[in-house]
Structure formats: C-alpha cells, structure tokens
Point group: C2
Chain length 305, copies 2
C-alpha cells in the first residue's frame, strides 16, 4: 500500500506511535491551498494535513526523543473501512504498531480527545401490503408502521457513561428514512436506518443486543458496526502525555482510528490542529498558530530539549 512506517531504536523504556492519514476527501473547489491572514485554507488542511505536517516536522527535527517513536503515515482513511492502511497494518504487521501509547493527529482544535464511541448502523424494515390509495383499506401501510419506530426513538433516553473521567453521551437516531413507490400506492415497504453511537464501555455485541432489544418485534438488519475505544488514561504513558499537553481532556464522540489501537490493547488519543467541524467542507482551513502550538507541545512531550 501507500503506508510509511519509520521507527527509532534508541533503547528507551517506552515506545509511542504518532500516526496520521495522508489521504483527503475529494476537493470541493478549494484548491490551490493558500495562506491567508495566518490561516491555511484548502482541502486537507484540517483533515488531516495539519496533523501530518506536525508529525513530519517532529520526525525530522527531534533527533533524541526520551521515548522511542514509531511514525505511521497511512493511506485510505477516507474510504471504505476495509481499505484503511492502519487496519491493514493491524492485520498484517501488528508488531510494527507495538507501543505503550498512541497519538492520532486527527483534528481536535489542538485539544486532547480521549478514546471514541463505537458506531452501529441498522435498518429497521417495515413490511406492509400494497393497494391503490383510493382503496387504502385493502392494504397495510408500511410508512404508517414506521410511526411507532420513530416514537420509540423520540422516547430514547441517552446513557451518559463516564470512563477515565470522560463522559461519553450515547446517541440513537434515525439518519435515513425511505418508503413508498408511487403517489397512488399504499406503501408495502419502509426502511428506517438508525445509527447507534455507543460508549466504549459497551462491546459491539452488547451494542447490537441493545438495538435488537430496543426494536423488539421489528425486522432489524445490521449494516455496519465498529467498536469504540477506551481512552486508557490511567496508563503511565497516557498520563505523561496528558501532563505534557495540559488543559482539559474531552471525550471523542465521533469514531476514529484510535479504536484500532484500542483493539490491540494500546491506549490512544486524538490530538491535532484544526476544527473537526470544518473537515470535508469547502471552507476547510486551519490557523497556523494551532499547527505551531501542537508542534511545540508534542516536541516538549518527546523531551526534545
């Protein structure tokens, strides 16, 4: 693939991974990248060339870090999960990722975001009987049947789960709905696609069991699932990082590749320049100050003075 892995071999007592993905989503009329009033504008500046730039600069400049470092720059993060370069490393060369702690340079506006929630998508499929809409009594309306599904979702009470002092608020929401074939036909099918974002204290299997129980009595088909990531902030290497970065640690709500490290038993956090809300947008941009701040913080953490 197009993944680069480079390691120091200094015999330090701990090893950390600093990782970032090289690919971006397609440009959206935001090339060429330009520097304007102290901000870098253009595709990928936030997600995540800013974080990659910090890591590359440090890889070149920090010649004697206080821990051994494995630098990972990987491909295909922005496409299907099974193509993901970090996932390929986990499958084919997990030993290359062996370490005490991992930092993923995904944008966090220069704040520290620990772990991540898991995600599960399922289709709740309603079934009816088609009929002409002038003789509705001859049919069974599958779209009307979706009303009860939406009612349950409205009544959903979110769990707030505290892990390592971080509170992960869960979400269970309809993200798509589709039903009916023509404007004079009683719909015989309707599909409500739901997305469950679950706290990392729950496994994928437990998340699935919850969703199946929540929609008890319905035809539920899981279409996508990925585990969350426990932050592991109680580990010494993680505590050293938190101390170096300082400030507030927040939970990461969206799913990120930190979960792949967690799957290997490695605590991992998200830390990088750029507002994640701007990722994938036409107006994607990052302040240079944030890039410099992250670079300085990570240099201090690596003990380079």
């Amino acid at each position: 693939g197009d993944t680069v892995v480079a390691r120091t071999h200094l015999g330090r007592p701990t090893r950390v991974v600093v990782a970032g993905h090289l690919d971006t989503v397609p440009v959206a009329d935001n090339l060429p990248t330009r520097l304007q009033d102290g901000e870098l504008w253009g595709r990928g500046t936030v997600d995540m060339k800013g974080g990659v730039a910090v890591a590359l600069a440090l890889a070149v400049q920090v010649e004697a870090p206080t821990c051994d470092v494995t630098w990972v720059f990987y491909d295909h993060e922005e496409v299907a999960s099974d193509l993901n370069g970090l996932g390929r490393l986990v499958r084919l060369h997990p030993d290359w990722l062996a370490c005490d702690f991992a930092v993923l340079g995904e944008p966090t506006s220069g704040g520290l975001e620990g772990g991540c929630k898991g995600t599960l998508r399922a289709e709740v499929r309603l079934h009816g009987v088609a009929a002409h809409s002038a003789r509705a009594w001859a049919g069974v309306n599958a779209v009307h049947a979706a009303g009860e599904v939406l009612r349950r979702l409205e009544d959903y009470a979110a769990r707030d789960v505290e892990v390592d002092g971080l509170v992960y608020r869960e979400c269970l929401e309809a993200v798509l709905i589709s039903g009916g074939t023509a404007s004079n036909i009683i719909p015989d099918a309707c599909v409500v696609t739901v997305n469950y974002r679950f706290a990392p204290d729950r496994s994928e299997a437990e998340a699935l069991a919850f969703v199946q129980d929540f929609f008890d009595g319905y035809d539920v088909v899981v279409t996508d699932s990925a585990p969350g990531a426990l932050p592991g902030l109680d580990r010494p290497a993680a505590q050293a990082f938190v101390a170096a970065v300082g400030g507030q640690v927040n939970p990461k709500f969206g799913w990120t590749d930190v979960a792949r490290f967690t799957g290997l038993g490695i605590p991992a956090v998200n830390y990088g320049p750029g507002d994640p809300v701007l990722a994938h947008k036409q107006e994607e941009h990052v302040p240079l100050d944030q890039i410099r701040h992250c670079e300085a913080t990570l240099r201090t953490w690596l003990g380079a003075r």
Copy 2:
C-alpha cells in the same frame, strides 16, 4: 389532437355521450396481444381497449338508437392531466360534450360504478438542523419529527359519505416518505407525501381546508388536486341507464375522467369490461364474455331492437 368525436342528429329527446380513451401505458413484455381460452391477453385489453371495442362496435351497428349519441374517443389519458384529450374538449369545445348523461368505458368488470372520489396530494415538510450523528444533541432530527405526522395519520378516522345510495369511503394515507442525506448525519429535512381521496360531496377547496386543518402546525404544500364526481343517479337519463344495466351500482373509488363530465354538470358513470386491478400490469387480460356482455347491455340501453 388525436381525439375523434362523432354525433348522431336524430332529433331524439335525450343525448348521451359514450367515451373512452385510446392510449395505453407502455407495454410490459405483453405484446403481441393474444386470444387464449376465451380471454384476450395483452397491453390495453383492460385499460381500455375492451371498452373502446364495445363502443366502436355499437357506433357501427346501432343505426337507430332511441337517444342521440355522441361518441368520444380521446388521447392522452395515461399521461399528465393537462394533456388529457377529454380535458382539452372541456376547455375548447364543451358544446361538443353537451348531453343528458355520459358513460365512460373504463374497466369496472362489467359492473356499474357511479361518480368518483376526488384526490389531493400534499407534502408535509419537516425541518430540522443537521449535525454529526455522534453529536446528535447539536441537531434537530427532522425524521423523528415525522413521527407525529404518522401518528396523526394512524389516528385518522375515515368519513363514509353516502351519495345517491353509494357510499364513498375516504382515505388519507402517507404514500411516500423520504428523509436524511447520509448515515452519519442527523437529518435536517424529511418529506411525508400524503394522498387524500375525498368523497364527491366535498370540493377541492374543502378537501384542502381539511388537510391543512388535519396537519395544523406543519408546513403543508399541495402538489396535485382533482375534484371528485357526484354520480347524479337521480337524473332520469341516469336512471334509464341503471335500469338497462341492472344489478348493483357501486361507487368508483379511484379518480377517473367522469369527474370532467361532472364538472360540466353532466351525470356520468364508469361502465366497461375488464378488472381494473389488472390495468397497467404485465398480466393484463379480459374475458371475451365480459366484452360481449357489456356490448349487449349497451345495445339494449340504446334501444337497438
């Protein structure tokens, strides 16, 4: 256009219109038309070449009817309403349609179906605020908001309206639903398309007022509307037809062009061979017996012996 109108001028005390449309929906692997075990199979046999064949045969054979007859064979019934050949006659030559009673040869399985219900389509548009599905609390879910719309539809109590002894049961149903843009986004829009089939005692304006009141508080946009048709079975010409045809008179639930006659103040019924449920289907077919039965009945009605 491709509409043919032919009239007798025999000085009879009453004049009737016998009408049928010439076009069919596209073939669906059901050509060539074939005769098989006393049934005529193929596109258009039901909707409505069967009824047209009856009318054509009578136009040729019945030389001295007891009422004057206007034969109308029109185009573009199966496409957009504004192209409809009968509608064009209503707009440009309403005098050509002047009569005491009209028979439309739409398929009714050889039974008599009086008048028709009106139809109104509207979009109930739900509005929300998009957000990442991992941070649902930052958004407002427009699909969840559709739950209350579907709840109202489930609670809808249909009106049964008796006109001229025919009971028109109304329907108000969701026929289409669509919402959401991606499986990781809280939907900011959802549209529920509803179809109201209203009894002919209610005008289009009254039907609209009912729907707007039913969905009070929602953004309701009407996309389509057509009035129903009162059967007018109390008129002498209509009673003569019912007497000639005999048997049970049923209400027509689906909208048909009889409503265009009603719009001119002319009572009109649907009467023709073929099961309307088979219209537009691959297995469209009609028993020859039903065609012959309709032909014989109408010949009797026209006093041709």
